[in-house]
Amino acid sequence: MSNSKLLMTFPVSATSHTLVEYRERGGYATLEKVLRQMTPTQVSAEITASGIQGRGGAAFPMGRKWGVVHLNDGQPHYLCANADEGEPGTFKDRWILENAPHLLVESMVIAAYALQVRNAFVYIRGEFDLPYRRLAAAVDEAYQAGYLGARILGTDVSCDLVIYRGAGSYVCGEASALLTSIEGRKPYPRNRPPRLTVRGLYQRPTVVNNVETLANIVGIVANGAQAFRAVGTAKNPGTRLISISGHISRPGVYEIEVGYPWSKFIHEDCGGVSGGRQLKAVIPGGISTKVLTAAEIEPLHLDNQEVEAAGSSLGSGGMIVIAEGTCMVRLLQVMLRFYHHESCGQCTPCREGMGWLHRIIDRVVAGDGRPEDIERLYQISAWNDGTTICGMGDAAGYATSGVLNKFRDEFEYFIDNKRSRLHGNLECLASS
């Protein structure tokens, strides 16, 4: 199949992120067209017609999210870009922020117009340094050029954009936690309903979209929903940015058309497993998605529907490649340490469960595993499924049961023999 590009359409250079070069590529022409020729409703209709699904992990249709906001309800509305990219394995939004910050800014001003938003925010994770500096410079340039602020391009449309830097918290990537964080508080996720598009930031209707989702707006509006739908699959149009890492020859961010053959992607586009090893498993979309074995991914295409039918998800597009010889018990230990570290502590099943899972896996790795530990890990995972306010409890459970389902024999061996069947390595040493 052809592999159309919608976002990575220009050669990256030391200056390709600047306003000058963005304008040379046609930047901000779409905003001008929108403000002069389209109504907010027309913009929203185009987004809905494009069928674009959220790229942050949940794959919720952007048009449906926007549709909840009533333009004439007399309240302020807010828009927030979720740039709190924290799902381990995911670094695609970093690419947009570093290389195409103006694409995000232009898309956000168009979205703000469509949703009648006066104040928009980008919530960017506190650890991001270059992405923050690039975005901050782009916002300054956009203000100076009149693409942001009062009376944009001489129209009566105004929009201000504030970059809000986080301070180190995985949970803030969850939309309601993110908004609570922008309110300057400890980021406890909120129960739904009410949806954030009804009561979000400071109880006002708020749209939170992932950076990559938003960045597609310029292309959709410029070329029309039909052109967008011509790419990808009928149910999931467009492209995905896949960030691939782990035991892979050419790690990095790739733009693929939805429906691209998975095996071809790994073995041809990304150069195959590093060190010439065999592929053992792949975590498809961030560590919260269930691991799939090499045999399982072989016939699949990079389309969320197919991956979900195989029991996992493309999630946030953070693909981690695992070579033959990697100890999955140690791998699960790394994952569970992370979830334990990041649980915000609001919900009992997650607050207690993450620590419990972590203690069990630490014990197993230390050689003190007990025969009942595997069932216990399953049980704690099940207790978290659907019982926590945000998805983190479920996610940790999926990650755990995913690894256990596929590699149970390694856990049994580790518990019986008090050591890994595979030398306990996570690193793929090229020489061995």
Binding site: P76, E85, G86, P88, G89, T90, F91, D93, R94, R118, N119, R125, G126, E127, F128, D129, L130, D160, V162, Y164, R165, G166, A167, G168, S169, Y170, S181, I182, E183, G184, R185, K186, P187, Y202, S243, I244, S245, G246, H247, P251, G252, V253, I283, I287, G318, I320, I322, T326, R330, L331, V334, M335, R337, F338, H341, E342, C344, L426, E427, C428
Partner: protein
Amino acid sequence: MKHLVAEFDAIRARFPSGFDSSLVVPFLRRIQEDRGYVADSDIDALVDYLRVPRIQIEEVLSYYTQFRRKPIGRWHVQACRNVSCSLLGADRIVDHLTQKLRIRPGETTGDGRFTLSTVECLASCGTAPVVMINETCHECVTPQKLDALLETLT
């Protein structure tokens, strides 16, 4: 904190009115950038300036991992050890740093030069393993690269 008030007023002007509570995180970040940590006196001053409850500031400080209540070394060496970095040798990197600096994660060298921490995912998995030193992310690190780098940090 007093010498930052002019800067705070400018930041405040960029936010919509009624968003004073939102300023807690950016102001604490700025205070920490300036002092290296957040002192009790900073909390008092921020309560006066923003008129937010003291408990809110305390909660934010104790929750978010990037905030510190005590001084640390001049160079904060943060080694990622999440999945992708682990698959490419994060354990080896952390061991090397521990031996080289003669401190464990969470500790500071006696001369106040380095603090070593382990962190979870810096979203740079494609260039793993990564080590962040102060504000700068160092990619594809090896013990040799780290040794050369640490020499330059005085």
